[in-house]
Symmetry: C2
DNA sequence: ATAAGTAAGGAAGGTCTACTAACAAACGTG
DNA sequence: CACGTTTGTTAGTAGACCTTCCTTACTTAT
């Protein structure tokens, strides 16, 4: 039949156990300290099973007993258990920028403990990998708690195993980054596209945990990460979210559409990327600048309306320079999307800046580890 | 934290068993008769476990022994087991048409055994439900094999439990169709949006089993069903795929954009729906008609390009009248999408008519049952 | 023709996991 | 102070899969 069968995961005997373990951790992570009995109710497991799982998690040090709950209700007072989110660290690296590799040591809640940055100084290929490895070692040394793993958000197309299929700006082609770094550092390493990590971060830590989220990252280029029905969209060739090179400007009366680095004309990047925006606004007074930003917002809205409709998104968040995005651009984009979609789709849509600010991609890299190692999303 | 926790399914003790059972059935369904040892290799379960599962499936009558394999290899010859796809029936109903309810009795491979249709004669609301129930009874009586379940593809917004949230054309609002019919007919009933069932049918039976598929249904209106990473996209309010009312035509020099039934202007339905297309072509000679169809194809391509890019789709299939769609319209749409997306995204895209033809939605309704009852996707 | 190697399928026994049932502890309430 | 309520634990049970070992049946090499 020529049909591509997806690699359906087999159900090992311990599979159910791992799933239930993740559910317990997930609840503790998102809802804070909880009693075993409450966990049992939330997960619809029995109290016995939950006690067993909690005991195992305590043995691992991931969870701790926190004493009796203060509130006075009838019956035996519950003793709370909580996740030790501050007693473990995660190393997160954001490679989105072309000039700097930015990294951080974070707690499991995404609080930054230490930062390190390294200038790329034009290094690409293997040299860039070596610089990245050094940065990771540096960060691992800076952590003073056990490190759960390393999460990396990188530009380019990256498959689900953390192999960089292609990242032209770093001259990486088919580089098994996750596997190599994991072997070199002896720590679990997870790698994903930077826009995808941004979406993941916003979804898990930024309060966008609804059902349809897209995060648009605006920097040197434009990228997008999409979370639908609770899962990151990968796409046919792991290239989902590559919105930067969709044509959005047609040749018109003003002459031909602007030329893009990719060789075609009128790509979204030629109007929305930061360099393009800065060029466009250079020398304009504020009022004229606002008009230009609104024009970009409208173009963006026209392109996003079909996507918002097709996926029935509930959240659309932006990451990038506030001074450019968070004003007429976003307002016009939102208005345009609403004008161009069904009321039920457009009215529900919430559109705004990423609540995690500059650190979205970094937080997302941390969430990548949480998700990969502990099953928390 | 205000975060909406998805209803994470708990892992029952029998959960793994059910999963493995589905995997075995899935392989037998898609790959045909297979030996137990081959099944074990494909599922990465042990031969013992597979034998056990196969024995259970044989006891249920879903699977049968087919004797030794002809091919001569070393070692003990394998005895093949196969799924008894012709010994069970599924009832499928397509409610997409405003005038007719079309139903069929099908085998598990989607072959039609019997057809029944009922004119709606303007019936809506409860009367339409009663007519549907009668049609189902009729079809159940026409089946001469055990019936696994009933699958229904209906217009409107439908949640994952098979409740019609809203279907204005039928005057259905919050009708628990699946639950009610299941109780009335004493058979499992599954209901989904007709465009979604079309996508499901094309995905499972139409050879579009890649990783990103969108099916566009063009009839009275325009709808879309999307399968990404192997799962149907539901969307925030179960309204994913509602592409018919995205604005695609702007007011221009030719005057204002055409008015849509929804009250706004320039919706996709005002150019792509069948009535609109017929009106547009009325009285034109073939050459002029082709120009018009190409113009519609271009408008469609412009709207689809961002969606194709965002999801990195690999298949884009159309269901509707061949004479209108399968010509300049599709050719131009494909060319437009390719012009307006990155080469890696657009070049990989395969675009064409649904391979299941008229029966896409019907086959999809059958797949809905296969998926819901047997875990086959 | 006979021995050796290979593969399929089944039987026995072990382990893991989560469930049910029953119970002790600790607290409000009448 | 007795009682009901809720929590968390102990003990026993059932399900599901695994590993190991065996028989069967065929191809291939000597």
């Amino acid at each position: 039949m020529g049909r591509v069968l997806r690699p359906t995961a087999k159900a090992l005997p311990g599979h159910a156990r791992a799933h239930n373990r993740s559910m317990v951790l997930q609840h503790l992570f998102h809802s804070g300290p909880t009693s075993r009995a409450d966990l049992a109710r939330s997960t619809s497991l029995t109290r016995v099973t939950v006690s067993d799982l909690v005991a195992a998690l305590m043995a691992e040090g991931l969870v701790e007993e926190l004493g009796a709950r203060a509130e006075g209700k009838v019956g035996k007072p519950a003793s709370l258990v909580g996740m030790r989110t501050q007693e473990f660290h995660v190393v997160a690296v954001d490679l989105a920028d072309d000039a700097w590799m930015r990294g951080a040591v974070m707690t499991l809640t995404g609080d930054v403990v230490a930062r390190r940055s390294v200038a790329l100084d034009g290094r690409v290929g293997d040299a860039a990998v070596i610089a990245l490895e050094d940065l990771c070692r540096d960060l691992l040394a800076a952590a003073d708690r056990p490190v759960i793993g390393v999460g990396i958000g990188s530009p380019g197309v990256i498959d689900s195993l953390g192999t960089v299929v292609e990242a032209p700006n770093r001259d990486w082609y088919d580089v098994p980054l996750a596997a190599d770094l994991s072997a070199a550092l002896d720590v679990p390493v997870h790698v994903a596209n930077d826009a995808n990590t941004a979406a993941l971060g916003e979804f898990t830590l930024g309060g966008a945990g609804g059902s349809g989220l897209m995060v648009l990252t605006v920097g040197q280029g434009v990228g997008a990460g999409i979370v639908v029905d609770g899962a990151l969209v990968q796409g046919h060739r792991h290239a989902a979210g590559e919105l930067g090179h969709v044509t959005v400007v047609d040749d018109g009366v003003d002459g031909p559409a602007p030329l893009c680095a990719c060789g075609r004309r009128g790509c979204l990047e030629t109007v929305l990327a930061v360099p393009a925006l800065r060029r466009r606004l250079a020398g304009l007074d504020p009022a004229a600048a606002d008009v230009e930003l609104a024009a970009v917002g409208r173009v963006l809205g026209v392109a996003l309306a079909p996507v918002v409709s097709a996926l029935n998104l509930s959240e659309l968040r932006f990451s990038g320079p506030r001074d450019l995005l968070d004003g007429p651009l976003l307002r016009t984009a939102q208005a345009t999307v609403q004008q161009r979609t069904m009321p039920v789709v457009g009215a529900d849509l919430r559109l705004g800046m990423a609540s995690l600010g500059e650190d979205v991609a970094l937080c997302g890299a941390a969430v990548l580890v949480l998700s990969g190692q502990l099953g928390i999303t």
